[in-house]
Amino acid sequence: MSSDGPAQTDLGFTDPNPTLGPKYGVVKAFAIPIVSVLLAFAVGGILIYFQGVNPFTAYRVLFESALGDSDGYLRVMQKSTPLIFTGLAVVVGLRVGLFNIGAQGQLIVAAIGAAWAGYHFDLPAVVHLPFALGFGMLCGAAWASIAGVLRAYRNVSEVITTIMLNSIAIALVDYLASRPFKEPDQPLSRTPLISDSAALATFGVIPSGFVIALIVSLFFGWFLIRTTEGFRFNTVGLNPNAARYAGISVKRTIVLAMAVSGALAGMGGAVETMGVVGRFEPAFNAGLGFDGITIALLARANPIATIPAAILVGILRTGANSLQFETGIEPEVVDVILALTLLFVAAPIVSRYIFRINAKRKSKSKGRS
């Protein structure tokens, strides 16, 4: 038992370099999340059944509304976008052995930061867009860095600090939106609308924020495997002692990773402000950071896998209201399904079952050789 390394979170990811790593991670990477989702849907189906609705009808409605037409696609993409970012934020933390519970706080701080940068300045779009986006990311990174620095230099658990920082962030943005940044001459607590020059466009049914999310996600998939900095992240996450002995500054890596994590969550908030909401309004960003935890775990700390995981959550959240419209089932059933999915992904029951099947198969195939 090492006493002073970062808490290790074994999520079953193995050698992060697939070209060098063995293939045994594949089962864990795909089978467990898929089986877990199916199981969660099964249990959710039972709940739906007891509400007097045919679960198959309910699920058909849910998926049709999300994937049935271009409007559905657009909404799924819009909903998935911030979730990809917050999922990535949690993933990057996990890779370095940090549990960033604070994506929510980082996201809202960045969302109001981007809104301020978006309405307060009047700049040409080529400057304004990156400026507002960057300023939001900076806010998220700074917010997360408080936890990162405390973790690295004072050995204070980032779990506790990010929980505290979430509560502080909520109070802080409420204050900002209701007083200094408030849109004047109207009663609501919200900021003014951002200038058009800071608004992210939607191309047809494809929001540009979603495209950015995809690119960033793919980038981090590459970054963690192919770059020296990514190698540092992984090494610190897997064995901080060995990292230190190998000349990697663990403290610097922790601070950097937490800042990157916060910047990613912040990007989610900024994109949400600039691409979807158009201003900062407190209720509009509820729960996005917490969904990030679900997504990161569902993706088993793989950056690219956050895309399908976020899309799944996006579909569920998009379809929830249609489910109520068509069948009268309360939209909260989606939360129950997500919680169950997370339970099955994290709990060893599913993986044990899958591995037992797998082991049996292997022992059979070994018989040949």
Binding site: D15, L20, T227, T228, E229, F231, A242, Y245, G247
Partner: protein
């Protein structure tokens, strides 16, 4: 010694994923008998006693305690049946007092409340009775190692253990402390306690054991007594063939100074001085060995020299370059290779492939990366080459390091550190827990590094290793270098005394007398 059989183990087998830790082990222990379990690291001694203590459950076989076949569900039941254990890594709660640690699990109680005063009285009495001085109200974290071990022993005695297992109790003690402990153990035996004594130190075994069981690769390979055996015979039984007592090597031809240290001091993890004003030079082409009982500052010294631990020094230079305040990365770039003491914890990333481990501290060098992007072809190329050169037995360079044996893991670390052609190699316990074949290979690699002009600083708790490899020997005691000897005139007994804190002069006197 009594004839009453208190412990009988037959056909005990324990498997862990991928390893058979114990296979068909049988053993008998009588009342008042001291049975030594002798074997190298990894021979299965600890696994065996952990089964007897109920920490592991045997896969096959039978344990009979005082004539009764038992299936131990855990330590609690073992304790109830009179089995006590002094663990190699002390099982103490640092923030508890001595008394609290001793009574934990067997508390004197009134209703559910602990009778604190009674506990302190009992512990004091027990300590006095067994001649072990310790303050029951002191916090364990404030005690020195020797005193902590006494607490550990008191814990077992408090539970009225009449079968006492001692797992490598002398590893952390000086020779003098060791002698005292051996005396105490004899006292226990005289009082009718059966003692199972685990060690890999032959001298101790011959000194006090009534019976010696030698384990190798999880099996009992022989049973003997001190009367029938001598050190050479025991060693042969342990390793299965004659040990090369001295390593073959040419005489050294030291050249320029590579490592030059004057007045280096460093603190331990809990902030106490661990390394005091150490002066040290290592020249190109020589191996300097540091002998000493573990815990006398060797670890802190190595960590200070490699930049992992903060230190102060009047002078600390590597190849004439100032290294005071340098971090591990900077030290590494001064062409220093470091084989850490605990390779699993500090030397490797178990989940990484062999290839990634081969460049663990060089991944960002221009050879293996360009503008922050890793060059995997170069990495794989180097790994393939090193696996062949250093005879790492692995199916592939993509195999995770976790799945290698101890010896092969160590070869990966040594290969990595030597492949950069270091001008200074700091090797800490380079053959700990490594099989005999690998030991020889590793020794020959260290010597050939020296012959190629590297300066080598070797730290080892195995005196034979230090004696066999070093050209010069420094003895470390209580954070200080207390003596420097040319290996030619080094004498085992003398070094032993030095390791125990005896001064060189005294050593000379005693050797005259």
């Amino acid at each position: 010694m009594d004839d009453e059989l208190v412990l009988e183990v037959t056909g005990l087998t324990k498997r862990f994923p991928g390893v058979v830790a114990n296979e068909d082990v049988s053993l008998t222990v009588h009342k008042g008998e001291i049975v030594a379990l002798l074997g190298e690291n990894g021979a299965g001694k600890s696994t065996l006693v952990k089964m007897i203590y109920g920490l592991y459950r045997p896969d096959e076989g039978e344990i009979r305690i005082k004539g009764e076949t038992v299936r131990l569900s855990g330590p609690r039941e073992a304790i109830r049946r009179g089995v006590g254990m002094v663990h190699q890594h002390f099982q103490l709660v640092p923030v508890f007092t001595v008394a609290e640690n001793v009574i934990l699990g067997n508390e004197p109680r009134k209703l559910s409340f602990i009778e604190k005063r009674k506990a302190i009285k009992e512990v004091t009495a027990l300590a006095e009775k067994n001649g072990m001085a310790v303050d029951p109200k002191a916090l364990v974290r404030d005690l020195p190692v020797g005193a902590q071990q006494r607490v550990e022993i008191l814990k077992a005695l408090y539970r009225r253990a009449d079968i006492l297992i001692m797992d490598e109790p002398t590893a952390v003690l000086t020779p003098q402390e060791t002698d005292e402990l051996l005396k105490t153990m004899k006292g226990f035996a005289a009082n009718g306690v059966a003692v199972i004594f685990i060690t890999h130190k032959l001298r101790e075994v011959l000194a006090i054991a009534d019976k010696i069981e030698v384990l190798r690769s999880g099996k009992v390979v022989g049973t003997t007594t001190p009367a029938e055996a001598d050190q050479a015979k025991l060693a042969q039984m342990m390793v299965g063939r004659s040990v090369l007592l001295s390593v073959e090597k040419s005489t050294s031809s030291p050249k320029e100074i590579v490592l030059d240290v004057v007045g280096l001091s460093s603190d331990s993890d809990i902030g106490l001085p661990a390394v005091r004003e150490v002066n040290l030079t290592v020249r190109s082409g020589e191996i300097v060995g540091i002998a000493g009982v573990e815990g006398n500052g060797q670890r802190e010294l190595v960590e200070a020299l490699t930049g992992i631990r903060k230190s102060t020094a009047t002078k600390f230079a590597i190849n004439d370059e100032n290294a005071i305040g340098a971090d591990p990365h900077e030290i590494h770039s001064m062409h220093v290779g470091h084989v850490p003491e605990d390779r699993e914890k500090d030397g490797l990333v178990g989940q990484y492939s062999i290839a990634n481990n081969m460049v663990l501290n060089r991944f960002d060098e221009p050879e293996f990366s360009r503008r922050g992007i890793r060059n995997m072809d170069a990495v794989n190329g180097l790994a393939t080459k090193l696996v062949k050169e250093f005879d790492v037995r692995t199916p592939s360079i993509k195999t995770p390091a976790n799945s290698l044996s101890g010896g092969n893991k160590q070869k990966v670390v040594i290969a990595r550190e030597l492949s950069a052609n270091p001008s200074l190699l700091i090797a800490s316990q380079p053959t700990r827990g490594v099989d005999v074949g690998s030991i020889e290979f590793i020794h020959s690699q260290i010597i050939s590094a020296r012959d190629n002009g590297a300066a080598v600083l070797l730290v080892s708790a195995e005196l034979d290793e230090v004696l066999g490899l070093s050209d010069r020997i420094l003895v470390m005691y209580d954070g200080e270098i207390v003596a420097e000897l040319e290996s030619a005139d080094a004498d085992r007994a003398e070094i032993g005394r030095l390791m125990a804190g005896g001064h060189a002069v005294m050593a000379e006197e005693s050797s005259h007398g």
